[in-house]
């Protein structure tokens, strides 16, 4: 029997509680005809009983499961020989891991000693006891809750209000979880970054022109100085984002203008969804499109022109990223262009302006703030994009404005810093957190500005 089964049993009990509570409420007023005498509908009494049955039991089960492993671990350690108990924490952790693996029948590192066997048996016993205890406690709590809820059911009892408030607290709980998770992630990134800045000065990080995060493991190792200047990464990021925007803004904007101002209803009905499908293509697909099709194409054509194009170029990544972003720009712009009131078009056309003059001189200026907002959102998307650049832009942190060379971006470096086996407290690994924090701050600012601009724009036309 496992916890899953226990939860299933609990759910079964809750269903039973629902029926019992509902039945009782109906019986108390003498069958379905007397429902008017009840304060709430019978189903609310059912829900109320089910909540009494399930909620406390589930809470206890949750607490039990989250506390049990720590407690068991402490008990196992307390039972270990003195020599093992006094090991440094990291090694002690390894021993405990081995014991757990042994208990679960997994592969163990190193020899299995008699003490280990004993500890593993002890561990196993403790787990079984704990589980048995949890089943007893949880099930009896559920039954107790059921009977309490069942007893509380009476015609005057305001079950609806109780259920509503439980639902409200459930929603509050969910949103709290969402907020605190985000907050937790941000804080953990922040603290790790602070640890990084204890090792590498923040000025060197922000303004350094060199990025080579390989740290020397041995004293005499060459070429692994560990330079953490972030400028080349941001230059690369901005270069690629710039190329992407140069592709996406004109194409996206013009297709939005065509779709909203010129295209017939029937064409728009299938062209717009088609364009938005572009946004649904997984970025990894764009990535290999960039790496396998666009990059070689650019290199070969560059060679024809006598240009020296590296096979992983900023241009390839930027072009493909631009294509990926087109639907963002076009659908957002389409929305704001459609929001420009028809009366503006009438005024302009009525004075003898042509269609394109109206678009250029009235509609675009009126829609501009909204379009800018859309573009800023697209930029923050471009800066945060990883897959395409990992595959098409390369890893070398060149500080260059030449789009034909390979560059690297912040996100790519975060990936490479954390891929593979890493020590968790070397500056190299911690640098990923600092990069992440910086990236987060930049996109945050971009998004706030963009949303502000878009909202301002909405207000302009009621």
């Amino acid at each position: 029997m496992s916890n899953t089964l226990l939860i299933l049993i609990l759910l079964g009990l809750m269903a039973l509680a629902y029926r019992l509570g509902m039945r009782r409420s109906q019986r108390l007023v003498g069958g379905p005809g007397g429902v008017r005498d009840l304060h709430s509908l019978p189903s609310y009494y059912g829900f109320f009983t089910a909540i009494w049955c399930g909620l406390p039991a589930l809470l206890v089960l949750f607490l039990w499961v989250s506390l049990q492993s720590g407690v068991i671990r402490d008990l196992v350690i307390a039972d270990l020989p003195e020599a093992v108990r006094t090991l440094p924490p990291a090694q002690l952790g390894l021993v405990i891991n081995d014991i757990q693996n042994l208990a679960q029948g997994n592969i163990v590192s190193g020899e299995v000693s008699l003490e280990m066997e004993r500890a593993a048996a002890h561990y196993q016993r403790l787990r079984q006891t704990s589980f048995a205890a949890s089943v007893v406690v949880v099930l009896s709590l559920a039954l107790l809750g059921l009977s309490v809820g069942w007893r509380l059911v009476s015609p005057k009892f305001r079950a609806r209000n109780r259920v509503e408030s439980v639902i409200k607290w459930l929603l509050v709980g969910c949103s709290t979880i969402a907020i605190f998770t985000t907050l937790g992630i941000v804080l953990s990134v922040l603290f790790e970054s602070i640890r990084f800045f204890e090792m590498v000065p923040i000025g060197e990080f922000l303004f350094g022109l060199d990025w080579s995060p390989q740290m020397a493991i041995r004293e005499d190792q060459v070429g692994s100085s560990g330079a953490f200047g972030v400028i080349p990464l941001f230059a690369g990021t901005l270069l690629i984002a710039l190329i992407a925007m140069l592709v996406a803004v004109p194409i996206g904007l013009m297709s939005a203008i065509y779709l909203s101002e010129y295209a017939g209803a029937r064409f728009r009905a299938w062209a717009k969804p088609l364009l938005e499908i572009l946004a649904g293509i997984p970025t990894v697909v764009y990535g290999f499109f960039a790496a396998l099709t666009v990059a070689p194409f650019i290199r070969d054509n560059g060679a024809l022109l006598g240009l020296d194009v590296s096979s992983e170029s900023a241009l390839a990544a930027g072009l493909v990223m631009g294509i990926m972003i087109i639907p963002f720009i076009s659908s957002l712009s389409d929305d704001v262009i459609n929001a420009v009131p028809q009366s503006m078009r009438d005024a302009s056309l009525g004075i003898g302006a042509t269609h394109s003059e109206t678009v250029r001189k009235v509609i675009l200026p009126a829609a501009l703030p909204g379009i800018v907002g859309g573009i800023l959102l697209a930029v923050s998307r471009a800066i945060g994009e990883t897959m395409i650049v990992v595959m098409a832009a390369g890893l070398s942190a060149n500080l260059t404005a030449n789009p034909l060379q390979s560059v690297t971006t912040v996100t790519v470096q975060i990936v490479t810093l954390l891929v593979g086996d890493q020590e968790f407290d070397s500056p190299k690994t911690l640098a990923a957190f600092a990069l992440g924090l910086l990236l987060f701050l930049i996109t945050l600012v971009l998004n706030v500005v963009a949303l502000h601009v878009v909202r301002k724009y909405r207000e302009a036309y009621e």
């Binding site: 017939g264 009131p341 009366s343 503006m344 078009r345 009438d346 005024a347 302009s348 056309l349 009525g350 004075i351 003898g352 302006a353 042509t354 003059e357 001189k361 009235v362 200026p365 009126a366 302009a460």
Partner: protein
């Protein structure tokens, strides 16, 4: 029940004399072409519409309407809502072209030029026949740029001084100059409703049109702003031909010389404004102006 305003009461009193004098729904001798009662022609026509039909898709919105619009006259178009007043007005500068499903048949001439001729360009036409809309619709640009919009589009001026002059003249004629001359670079949408509407009139005047079409220009304005616009219409009549759609019969009576009454897409009766409001000859016109429906 009836909503009888002072004006209609006065008109009703005048009409009673007509009834006792033997009122008949349609005087036979006055039955003009196309079933319209009254004289559709004008001695000195600026625009002439003949046998105009307008369809939205398959739906007939204007049925066989013929009407002259005379030089330096204000012609009012009245009728219950949905009867096709706006539709007819929008035919006169081909604004209906902007509605995909709209189709116009018949003949409309401006100074003897067929405006639906396939060789005719709507750009100069709409400069000659300007339009003021129901809801004031200044561009979200400065007051100056609003008025300068048309002259710039049509390349009417070659330098800044000329443009300044055109803007000032247009604002003067629209009676707005004194109120805005010190803040020409503020946005036009920041003005009051009545000022916005006069700004829109200035914007229309700035391209020196011959005809100004106004579609219920006061329906979004308060009585004082309305009175201001009505005065303005009276002044503008000296230089322009004006066709105004209005839902207010008092307004039609105050500003127009001729009145056309539309009903369900047909032009029922046309005549001198004084005659229409004192001695309507068609039963439908009479019902409408006495407030029996509308």
């Amino acid at each position: 029940m009836l909503s009888i305003t002072p004006d209609t009461v006065a008109l009703g009193a005048a009409r009673k004399g007509v009834i006792t004098a033997g009122f008949s729904p349609v005087a036979d001798d006055a039955r003009a072409i196309n079933g319209t009662v009254g004289d559709i022609t004008s001695a000195d026509p600026r625009m002439t519409a003949r046998n105009v039909n307008v369809y939205y898709g398959d739906k007939l919105a204007i049925n066989n309407v013929s009407l002259d619009i005379g030089v330096n006259e204000v012609i009012a178009m009245i009728g219950p809502s949905g009867c096709g007043k706006s539709t007819f007005l929008r035919c006169l500068n081909r604004m209906n072209d902007t509605i995909d499903i709209c189709r116009v048949e018949g003949e409309i001439r401006l100074d003897d030029q067929d405006i639906y001729d396939s060789g005719l360009d709507v750009v100069p036409l709409r400069a000659q026949v300007g339009m003021v809309f129901q809801k004031p619709n200044p561009f979200p640009k400065s007051i100056y740029d609003n008025v300068a919009y048309g002259p710039r589009i049509h390349g009417l001026t070659s330098n800044k001084n000329d443009l300044d002059e055109v803007v000032e003249q247009a604002l003067l004629k629209a009676g707005l100059w004194d109120e805005v001359k010190d803040r020409l670079d503020e946005v036009g949408t920041g003005l009051s409703g009545g000022q916005q509407q006069r700004l829109c009139i200035a914007r229309t005047i700035a391209v020196a049109p011959e005809v100004i079409l106004m579609d219920e220009p006061c329906s979004a304005l308060d009585p004082i702003a309305t009175a201001r616009i009505e005065e303005l219409i009276d002044e503008l009549r000296e230089q322009y031909t004006i066709a105004i759609v209005t839902h207010s019969m008092q307004q039609a009576a105050r500003v127009s010389q001729r009145t056309a009454y539309f009903h369900l897409g047909e032009l029922v009766e046309v005549g001198k404004t004084d005659d229409i409001f004192t001695t309507p000859r068609h039963r439908l016109t009479e019902d409408y102006i006495t407030g029996r429906f509308g």
